[in-house]
Subunit: 268 residues, 3 copies
C-alpha cells in the first residue's frame, strides 16, 4: 500500500483537506492518505519545513508527501515534485524542503508544467486540489518525476534558525511551542552531554531570567516544576511537568533564548 | 477500494466519530473511511449541504457519503439512503442534499426501515452510529438501495440562498467564512467576467461600505490589502492577502452583501 | 485489513500523532490506522479510560488499540500489551484499561521488555512513537503477546466514579461534557425505567437546583429547554435542545450531581 501524506495550513474546519483527498482517491484509490497536520499557521513556511523534517522520513520509502503552505498560489511561483532519500515531495518551491535538506541530499526536482496530469479545470486559488493532489496520485500510480515536468537546478532554501556562542553562553531560539506548552528550542542534544540530572540550566528569555532543573523525562520532576530536557526531536525542550511552560512564562515560537551557564566539553 | 466519507457536527474532541468508524470497519473492513469535516456548527443543515456540494463528487463514483447533522434524531424524521450521480448518500431527510441536487438529479431514495441492517440495539440519540453507519457498510458490501427500505417520492429541500439584482447592483450573502478568514459569497463567477485586475469592487456589508481590489490570486495583492476574487468553488470571495477579512471587517456567514458597481454584460 | 486505533492527549496541532502513524505504516503498511481522539486533556487517564470503554469494542476483533496518555513517560512505569475480548491494547500500565475491565475479563498482559521490537533509538519523552507504535505494528504482523515480554500479574486499576443512594436520592458525577455541551453522568439507564416522558427530574449541581424534563430524544423538546435523557453510552445525560447545558449552567466534568426525586422500582 502506497501512502500519501498531507501537510497544510488549511485547518480542519473547512472541507479543503477533504477536497484534496477526494481528488487523490479518485485517481489512486489503492493508496492511503494520512494527515501530517493541517494546523500550520497560515503561510508559515518555516513551521511547515520543520513539520516535514520531523515527520516525513518516519513513513516508508516511496511515500508521497504533499505540502500546501502556499502564500504565492496563483502567482508565478513554481510548483515542483522532488525526491529526497527515496521519498517524494509535491509542493511549492518556497523553502518547505529546507530543513529536511540539511540532513539529506536532493535527488532530483522537476517543475510541474505538464497540465495533462492536473485537473481539467484549475482554479487560481487552490492548486493543492487542482495540481498538487492529482500529481501526487500520478506518482502513486508510477509516473516518474521526469514525466511530470522539466528538471529544476536550484530550489528555494530558507535559512534555518541557528544557535551560536554568545557572551560566554549560547544564543538560540524557541522553534515551536507544542500542545503541552513545551517550548522546543534549536539547541542540539550534544551541547548538554555533560549536564547531570538535577543540575540547573539558566536561561534569559524576553528579558527574564529563568531557572530550569535538568531532567531526563517529565515524570521524574515534581509536578509544576520547570524542567529542561532533550525532547523527542533531539533538541533542548523547556517544560513544566503536568503544566504549561509556555503559559507560565509567556513563551512563543520565535523568542530568542540565551543560555548563561553552559560549558563546552572541548573548552574545559 | 470503496470509500466511505463522514460529515458531521460532532467535533473531534469526543469519540462519536470514532464510534461510527468502528461500526463501519467492523462490517466492511475492506473500505477506507475518510473525514469530510466534523466542524459543521451544531445543527447547521445549510452548512452541511454546502460541504456535501463542494466535496462529494471529487471522490470516486460509488463512494458512500454519510452525513450526520441531525437535530431531529430520535423523533419521527426520516432516515434515508439516496443515489446521486453514481454516489450514495446515507443521511437524515432534512435538506442536506439540497445544494447538490441543484446541479444533479436524484437517481433514487429509500427510507431506512429494515432494522435487520442496523445495530441490534439502537439508541435514541445516536442514529449515526446505530443506523447510518451500519447501513453505509451494507452499501459498501453490495446491498442495493431497494434492499434497505421503501422508495421515497419527495425528499426535503432547503431553499439555497439566492443572489438578485437590486437597486442597480446585486444583493447576495456570505455563505461561509473559512479558516483563513476569507468570506465566501454566493455570487457566481460569471457575473465578474468583465472585471479587470485592479478594478475596484464596492460592497455594502452590515451597513458599511467596503472597497476591494479585483485580483486573480491572493499572492498578487500587497500584504494586508482587501481583495476580491473568484474562489475555488467558483464564487466571489472577499479576502485580505496574508490577513483575515472576516476579523478585519467583522464578516460572518449569513451577512447580506450588496455590490454597488457591477454591470451585466448583457445590459451594456 | 487489520486496524490500529490511536488514542492520545497529543492534540492535532503538532505532528506527534503523524510521527506514530509513520512508524506504524513503515512496519505494517497493510494496516489502517484510525484516530479515536487526540483531545484527551493532558495526562487525564480517567478520560482516556472512558474513551477506550466507549469505543474500542465497536471495532472488529483483532484490532490493536494504542493509547498514549502517559504522564510517567521516561520513568520506570511499565509499558504493556494486553488482550481483552479478542482486542489488543498497547499502552502504559497506568489504569487506562480500568473501565473496560469492569465489563470484560483481562485475557493476558505482558510487560514490554524486548527492545528488539522497538525503534533502534528510543527517546526519553516519546515512547508512543519509539516503543508503543512499533510494538503495535508487530502485533499487526502476527507477533503474540508472549513474544513481546514477560507476563504481568496485576495491572493498575483506577476506581471508576460511583453513584450511590444518598439522602433519599442519588449522588453521582458528571463524567464528561461533550461537543454539544451535553453533560454525561454516571447514572445508568436502569435507574430511570419508571420515568415517563415529560416528568421532571430535579438535580442539585454546584449548589444550584436545576429542573430537567424527561425526554427520549433531543428533538422532542422545545428549543433551548433543559432536558434529561439516556445518552448513547447508556447513562443519564443532561442537555439543552439546540443549546449547551454546560454553557448555560456552568457544568464541568467532575461536578457532583445529586438527584432529589428518584424512586427505585424495588422500593415502592
Amino acid at each position: 500500500v502506497k501512502i500519501v501524506t498531507l501537510l497544510t495550513d488549511f485547518g480542519v474546519v473547512d472541507t479543503y483537506v477533504a477536497q484534496m483527498k477526494g481528488v487523490i482517491y479518485s485517481l489512486a484509490p489503492q493508496c492511503s492518505v494520512v494527515d501530517l497536520t493541517h494546523a500550520i499557521a497560515p503561510q508559515d513556511i518555516a513551521a511547515g519545513a520543520a513539520a516535514l523534517r520531523d515527520t516525513a522520513f518516519l513513513f516508508p520509502p516511496g511515500t508521497v508527501h504533499v505540502a500546501v503552505i502556499d502564500p504565492g498560489v496563483g502567482t508565478d511561483r513554481r510548483l515542483m515534485a522532488a525526491e529526497v532519500a527515496g521519498h517524494f515531495f509535491v509542493l511549492p518551491d518556497n523553502g518547505l524542503l529546507s530543513l529536511l535538506l540539511e540532513a539529506y541530499p536532493l535527488q532530483g526536482a522537476v517543475e510541474l508544467t505538464r497540465a495533462e496530469f492536473w485537473r481539467s479545470t484549475v482554479s487560481r486559488t487552490f492548486h493543492g486540489r487542482d495540481i498538487l493532489a492529482p500529481v501526487a496520485a500520478q506518482i502513486v500510480n508510477g509516473r516518474t518525476l521526469a514525466e511530470l515536468g522539466g528538471a529544476i537546478g536550484e530550489i528555494q532554501r530558507l535559512a534555518a534558525p541557528r544557535w551560536e556562542k554568545s557572551h560566554g553562553g549560547l544564543a538560540g531560539v524557541i522553534v515551536s511551542v507544542d500542545h503541552f506548552g513545551n517550548a522546543i528550542t534549536n539547541f542540539p542534544e550534544r551541547l548538554f552531554v555533560d549536564f547531570e540530572v538535577g543540575a540547573s540550566l539558566c536561561t534569559v528569555i524576553n528579558g527574564r531570567e529563568l531557572q530550569w532543573k535538568w531532567c531526563t523525562a517529565y515524570g521524574f520532576a515534581p509536578r509544576q516544576s520547570p524542567i529542561a530536557l532533550v525532547g523527542s526531536n533531539g533538541c533542548l525542550e523547556l517544560a513544566i511537568n503536568c503544566g504549561s511552560a509556555a503559559a507560565e512564562f509567556q513563551l512563543r515560537a520565535g523568542d530568542p533564548v540565551l543560555i548563561g551557564n553552559i560549558k563546552f566539553s572541548g573548552e574545559r
